[in-house]
């Protein structure tokens, strides 16, 4: 007798991907969709897509979605959740969106303890605009605006957002995960489930940071990019529960 062990979540549409080969967004979109299905949240979900490669997340997700100005998803999400507290509201944001142009919105939504969930995709570069340095770019990492590698004296230091948010009372859960192996992907999904559940249980602000590959702008093969994240990126951004 056949048993179905892998199928498309209802929260994911049957469309072709536009993401580059080896990009992490496809995996994370799917993990989000799986968790939303498992928790039965699809019909009450309102998602906020960022500006960046993942702006087109709504082409993949099969639930209500809007798109915020660059950096502003958490201001938009704050109002949606305050007006519709019975809905499940999450933002999906990249490092530039969340930790550069939107740092203010991020910190204050977290500080207010808004009952929201943030999926933070950290790939260490600005992908959509051509691989420039992101706030999260590691020291030594080459990008199109740090051609000899990021140097703290010239370019400043990488921003450890979760560690910064940890001190805020309004924040209930912070975890950093990755996608470099199947067990790691499973852990990322577990973290998303916990973060989504926190909102259902009205515990406050939750954020899951996922170290995600961008082979196009790290100029690596997809496999090398994953190995690099495992060996190198995790030195700057250690995996695990931050709060």
């Amino acid at each position: 007798m056949k048993k179905i062990i892998y199928t498309r979540p209802k929260s994911l549409r049957e469309v072709r991907t536009h993401y580059c080969p080896g990009c992490g967004h496809g995996i994370i979109h799917r993990l989000v969709a799986e968790v939303i299905d498992e928790l039965g949240l699809r019909e009450k979900t309102i998602a906020i897509a960022p500006v960046g490669c993942a702006v087109l997340a709504y082409n993949y997700w099969n639930f209500d979605t809007t798109e915020a100005a660059h950096g502003r998803p958490l201001a938009v999400a704050t109002a949606i959740k305050r007006v519709q507290p019975d809905k499940f509201v999450f933002t999906y944001q990249g490092d530039g969106d969340l930790a550069a142009i939107g740092t203010n919105e991020t910190i204050h939504a977290a500080c207010r303890g808004e009952n929201l969930t943030v999926v933070f995709v950290n790939n260490g570069v600005y992908g959509m605009t051509g691989g420039q340095m992101a706030p999260t770019t590691a020291l030594g990492q080459k990008t199109t605006t740090t051609i000899n590698g990021r140097e703290s004296k010239i370019h400043g230091n990488p921003l450890p957002l979760l560690e910064m948010l940890k001190v805020l009372d309004g924040v209930c859960y912070l975890e950093r995960r990755s996608l470099f192996s199947p067990p790691e992907i499973k852990k990322a999904k577990d973290a998303l489930r916990e973060a989504f559940n926190n909102q259902i249980e009205e515990k406050g602000f939750s954020m899951v940071e996922i170290l995600s590959p961008c082979p196009t702008y790290t100029k690596m093969t997809p496999v090398d990019n994953l190995k690099w994240i495992e060996k190198e990126t995790t030195k700057t951004y250690p995996l695990g529960r931050v709060k």
């Binding site: 979900t45 309102i46 639930f63 809007t66 938009v76 999400a77 109002a79 305050r82 007006v83 919105e105």
Partner: protein
């Protein structure tokens, strides 16, 4: 005798009139001279079971309005000139996403940090779109505290009807001034607009999307054509003004907001001297009452545009009455200086000489 009047400031009137118009989300950031409005909302929204959020910046305020609006709730923010500049990004997104919202600007002197004195220097910013892209915002300019109670419901109705952000343009005088208001103005009937586009979760319907990104040029042009069509409709339907002219008038003073109050005083004084001057006050600054001004210019050939700014509305008047036999003059003071009645009278006399 029953007291049917209340004494209320313009800033508080903006807030109360918004609540009476069904506004249930307010987000704002402190800035003078509109702080009484934010403070008023922080108290009244709680009483009305609405949402009040003191935002971390005007960028956040306008995006909170975006979130409230896409949820289908009448949403508004308020600020003063520098804060409104920060909101322009968000206003452009509201326009691009076809979302209703009301933004009150209690103008102060600029540019830059300027000062906190009353001004009308944001006329161009308000009437020409203000942010990036091909869009316009309807602009309503009350000139008394009482009129605020008529303007605010209108602003929310226009916003909902045409799915557009609407600017209500006041200034530091109007915001700070207290005036008696007849309580009958508090009887505002809230019109209900169906909002099937609102995001409320996809239960019993297909998932919906609110966005302003259209990567294909033809699709983005389609959005723009839809918006332009709506702007034409607004220009046709929503023009509003107050006019008091007669064929005997030697000149017409055109002024809006607080300046229209100065203009009215000037006209009264000149009347006593036997000089007949007409009065024209645009209530909608966009769409501009151009046709009506053009009509007046058939009989009266001299216009003076009175502003608390450089000649800005002056350009709209010139566009409206443009003709070789019509003379348009401007009198504007900047930086928060309010033209005095004597100054205006002197100007009018020099024109009529």
């Amino acid at each position: 005798m029953a007291n049917n009047r209340v004494l209320i400031s313009g800033n508080e009137a903006f807030g109360e009139a918004a609540i009476l118009s069904g506004c249930r989300l307010y987000a704002g950031y402190p800035i003078t001279p509109q702080n009484e409005l934010t403070q008023y909302m922080s108290r009244r929204m709680l009483e009305e079971d609405g949402v009040f959020i003191q935002a971390e910046s005007e960028l956040a305020s306008i995006n909170m309005v975006f979130g409230g609006s896409l949820s289908g709730v009448r949403s508004m923010t308020s600020s003063s000139s520098p804060g409104i500049s920060l909101m322009q990004e968000g206003i452009s997104y509201l326009a691009g996403c076809e979302l209703p919202a009301v933004i009150v600007n209690v103008m102060r002197g600029g540019p830059g940090l300027g000062n906190i004195a009353p001004s009308q220097a944001d006329y161009f910013q308000s009437t020409r779109g203000g942010g990036h892209g091909d869009y316009r915002t309807p602009v309503l300019a009350p000139s008394s505290v009482a009129e605020i109670f008529k303007i605010m419901p209108k602003a929310f109705d226009i916003a909902d009807k045409y799915r557009t952000p609407v600017i209500v343009l006041g200034d530091g005088i109007l915001g700070q001034m207290m005036e008696p208001v007849d309580k009958s103005l508090f009887n505002i009937e809230v019109k209900e607009y169906s909002k099937p586009w609102a995001l409320k979760g996809c239960k019993d319907r297909e998932p919906q999307l609110i966005k302003s990104l259209y990567l294909a040029s033809y699709e983005l042009e389609e959005l723009n054509l839809r918006l332009q069509g709506r702007y034409e409709e607004i220009a046709e339907e929503e023009v509003s003004f107050q006019s008091n002219t007669s064929k005997e008038d030697e000149l017409v003073v055109v002024a809006y907001g607080s300046m229209a109050r100065v203009a009215a005083g000037v006209i009264r004084k000149l009347k006593k001297e036997g000089i007949d001057v007409g009065f024209f006050r645009p209530i909608t600054l966009w769409p501009y009452p151009s046709k009506e001004l053009k009509e007046i210019s058939k009989n009266i050939k001299k216009f003076l545009v009175l502003e608390m700014s450089s000649p800005q509305m002056f350009e709209d008047v010139k566009l409206a009455v443009c003709s070789s036999d019509v003379r348009v003059d401007a009198l504007g003071r900047m930086g928060g200086v309010i033209p005095t009645e004597d100054e205006v009278i002197e100007k009018i006399k020099s024109i009529l000489k």
